[in-house]
């Protein structure tokens, strides 16, 4: 692994999608948990916990998509046209998630709020699931023809392993969202979320263990990569420790540390995923020769260099003001007349 521009962009695209998971992950998680409470004030509190920030969080996905387009146009083209219906469903889910947050509070009628509550929750749940399924397919490998085009079908994407990754992603987001919710709320809802968070942690751990076993058993090239590069085990170990640390911190009511551990779990999972994939971006099955790699699918070195300058200028500024904005909206949610 030499650190050329292609590798740097492989890492940067990974960073953008990991950033997306850590940030919008809790928004989607809150959404998935939304319908579990029936009380309007509690639902409002949940929505307002993510209200000021979800929009900025979603930009990580938009920018990740843009970066993929710019740095690896062939991957963007093949995956987006290949997973056509899956992406249309993802877009529909993201649309409902987005507009439901805005629309819900604008009318007091019960049917109105119920309708957008379902839109918000289903949109969040399906978004997380589909993102996980897409990731799972990339990890498993997808049929790519000699022409670099996707050679499979929509139903062919819904096989057990990708679905397992999808469910695990939902579990991860729900856990992440529940912990975030615990940090942002107080009173009865806070206590309720504490119980849900514990259940979500258990749900996620079961999924994670199952997924790890399934990966080692059924995705032989993943196991082989680990076998060839034993140092990768340190990341797997870090991942396991991060996951194990979540319930520990949470139990001691150090919610912020539990949240950070959950972020660390996401980072290490994405690292494992990336290191197993590298230097491929889309691994082709059954014919690995057709795989899209960071070299045959990339933009020119000049463009990658220009993009690096853009990212170098833009990303630090973005992180700086994002931190400021989170700081402005720190603390427990208080509903006022500006709230959703």
């Amino acid at each position: 692994m030499n650190l050329d521009l292609n590798t740097v962009w492989f890492i940067l695209v990974g960073v953008l999608f990991t950033g997306y998971a850590m940030l919008d992950g809790f928004d989607l998680g809150i959404g998935a948990l939304h319908l579990f409470t029936k009380d309007d004030t509690e639902r409002r509190t949940l929505i307002n916990a993510i209200g000021p920030v979800w929009d900025g969080n979603e930009v990580w996905l938009v920018t990740g998509g843009g970066a993929l387009f710019a740095a690896f146009p062939n991957v963007y083209a093949t995956v987006f046209s290949g997973f056509y219906l899956a992406f249309v469903l993802l877009l529909v889910s993201l649309i409902f998630r987005a507009v439901a947050i805005e629309f819900r509070s604008k009318q007091p009628m019960r049917w109105w709020r119920q309708m957008w509550d379902i839109g918000f929750s289903a949109g969040s749940l399906v978004s997380g699931l589909l993102m996980g399924v897409a990731l799972g397919n990339i990890a498993w490998g997808v049929p790519i023809g000699a022409d670099g085009e996707f050679a499979g079908t929509f139903l062919g994407l819904l096989t057990p392993y990708p679905l397992l990754v999808g469910v695990t992603t939902v579990a991860l987001f729900m856990m992440h969202g529940a912990i975030y919710g615990v940090m942002k709320t107080e009173g009865a809802l806070h206590d309720k979320l504490r119980i849900w968070a514990m259940r979500c942690i258990i749900f996620f751990v079961i999924c994670a263990v199952t997924l790890t076993m399934a990966t080692l058993l059924y995705v032989p090239r993943m196991a082989a990569r680990l076998h060839d590069h034993p140092w990768l085990f340190s990341i797997a170990l870090a991942n396991m420790l991060a996951i194990a640390n979540i319930p520990r911190e949470f139990h001691h009511r150090r919610d912020w540390l539990a949240f950070l551990s959950s972020c660390a779990a996401m980072i290490t999972l994405m690292m494992l995923f990336g290191l197993n994939l590298y230097p491929n971006l889309v691994y082709s099955l059954p014919d690995p020769a057709n795989s899209l790699t960071i070299y045959n699918a990339s933009s020119s070195p000049k463009t990658l260099g220009i993009m690096l300058v853009i990212a170098g200028i833009g990303v630090p500024v973005v992180i700086a003001y994002t931190v400021c904005i989170y700081w402005i909206f720190r603390g427990k949610v208080k509903l006022d007349r500006m709230s959703y």
Partner: protein
């Protein structure tokens, strides 16, 4: 229907719907900056009330803009995969820059704009409003960079990559400042400012008609009409410069706009009429020599006609002609409306002229229609190319996508967008009926005004 037609309809429909909202966000962003700036300067609480009210409308348009905008970014890959491979090196950079420089700025500070009223100081809030507005403008900048590159490609070279030809960047700044970029950006931004300003004008005029919230309405009209008039007048200049650019860079497009078949000097400008494609001429009212004059400031300037291009390289003439002339006609109507409104407002007799107030109420539709028609003209006029002179539209299509997949998505998006539009109109109407909040005349929290100022504006 074949895959190509479906893909074009689906893309066109989703982008047309999306394009109702970003101009409103950009234009209302400018209005919010004006209102909050005036509040900071004059400390008149009615400006605070205005900023609050229009922020709520802004939030509504922004939400739909974001929700429908993310679709666009995915659709280059889903519908136009071959195109994406061809232009990714160039076009993708502009989209990624849009994300990093525009969307983060816009959505980050939107949090403070919407929810930070009581949490930050007045100056910090004003700064956030400016940043949201700036972010919205940046997003226009980068998307117009990308689209203008498709109209007038520059700063690239064609290279074989894995046995397929594609465009690669040779000079980033030439790419950004491609020949049509500046004029098209200014034209798009003016259109967006008009959209925002006329929305404010329309709602305020309606309040005056109904004799509701009259102080609020008058103050809003003052800001709205000023921006509307300035933007409408400047729009003539940017439109003229854009059209000259089209004459130079995309002569077939200009010929289609004007229905001009034979290359000629003393070319006429069509005022009203239609194109008879069979007879290859325009039937209607023409202004002799004016097109030549506009293109070269001289009636003897030669304007290239469609017959200089093989039929396979010509855009659809009737559609381009109608879209273009529709846009221009509305553009001039907006100037008249804004000028009348402005003059009578200054004269102090606007509230007595109910006919004009009614026209102002409906004026909100003008910029929206002109913006839509303008984009249609720009994109249809570029045909048969997806990247002008480099790649034809059918060649950019995704190779493996089936017609039924696109049809499914078309039906799905159409249904959802109809729902969104109905809800948008319903909620917008609801906000307008509800009107500005009286308690917004008394700013709260850290924004609270010094006590010596009156809480009630003079009536």
């Amino acid at each position: 229907m074949d895959v190509l037609t479906l893909a074009r309809i689906q893309f066109g429909a989703t982008i047309a719907f999306h394009y109702l909202y970003p101009p409103l966000s950009i234009g209302l962003g400018v209005m919010l900056v004006c209102m909050e700036g005036l509040w900071l300067k004059t400390k008149n609480p009615v400006y605070h009330q205005m900023a609050r009210f229009w922020t709520r409308v802004f939030a509504l348009t922004f939400a739909i803009g974001v929700a429908t905008g993310i679709v666009m970014e995915f659709e280059f890959g889903t519908n136009w995969a071959t195109y994406s491979r061809f232009v990714g090196d160039v076009f993708g950079s502009a989209l990624a820059a849009e994300g990093i420089f525009a969307f983060f700025l816009e959505s980050g500070f939107l949090a403070v704009l919407l929810f930070g009223w009581d949490k930050v100081s007045r100056k910090m809030h004003f700064f956030s409003t400016c940043m949201v507005c700036l972010g919205a403008h940046f997003s226009a900048v980068w998307i117009v960079v990308a689209n203008s590159w498709m109209q007038t490609p520059a700063g690239y070279k064609l290279v074989m990559h894995n046995g397929v030809e594609r465009a690669e960047i040779t000079n980033f700044w030439q790419l950004v400042f491609n020949p049509s970029f500046m004029e098209r950006l200014s034209h798009v931004l003016c259109g967006a400012w008009q959209a925002g300003a006329f929305l404010v004008v329309s709602v305020s005029a309606w309040y005056l008609l109904k004799k509701r919230h009259q102080d609020f309405a008058r103050a809003s009209l003052r800001v709205g009409l000023t921006v509307a008039l300035v933007a409408s007048l400047v729009q003539v200049v940017t439109g003229h410069v854009s059209a000259r650019g089209v004459a130079k860079n995309q002569p077939a497009k200009l010929a289609a706009f004007e229905g001009l078949y034979n290359t000629t000097s003393n070319a006429p400008l069509v005022l009203v009429g239609y194109v008879d494609e069979k007879d290859q001429r325009v039937k209607g009212l023409e202004w002799p020599g004016m097109l030549s004059f506009l293109v070269g400031f001289n009636t003897q300037t030669t304007v290239i006609g469609l017959n200089d291009f093989p039929p396979s390289d010509r855009p659809p003439v009737t559609a381009s002609f109608l879209f273009f002339h529709g846009m221009v006609g509305i553009g001039f109507a907006m100037i008249v409306i804004a000028a009348l409104g402005f003059l009578y407002f200054r004269h102090g007799s606007l509230h007595e002229r109910r006919w004009l107030l009614w026209i102002l109420v409906f004026s909100v539709l003008g910029p929206q229609m002109a913006n839509q028609l303008g984009w249609f003209a720009a994109e249809v006029g570029r045909q048969p190319w997806i990247v002008y002179g480099l790649m034809r539209t059918p060649a950019g299509l995704s190779a493996i996508v089936k017609a039924n997949a696109i049809l499914t998505s078309l039906i799905l998006f159409t249904l959802i967008y109809f729902l969104l539009f109905a809800v948008f109109i319903y909620l917008l109407n609801d906000k307008i009926q509800h009107g500005p909040d009286e308690q917004d005349l008394i700013p709260s929290g850290k924004l609270a005004l010094p006590t010596e100022l009156t809480h009630h504006p003079k009536t």
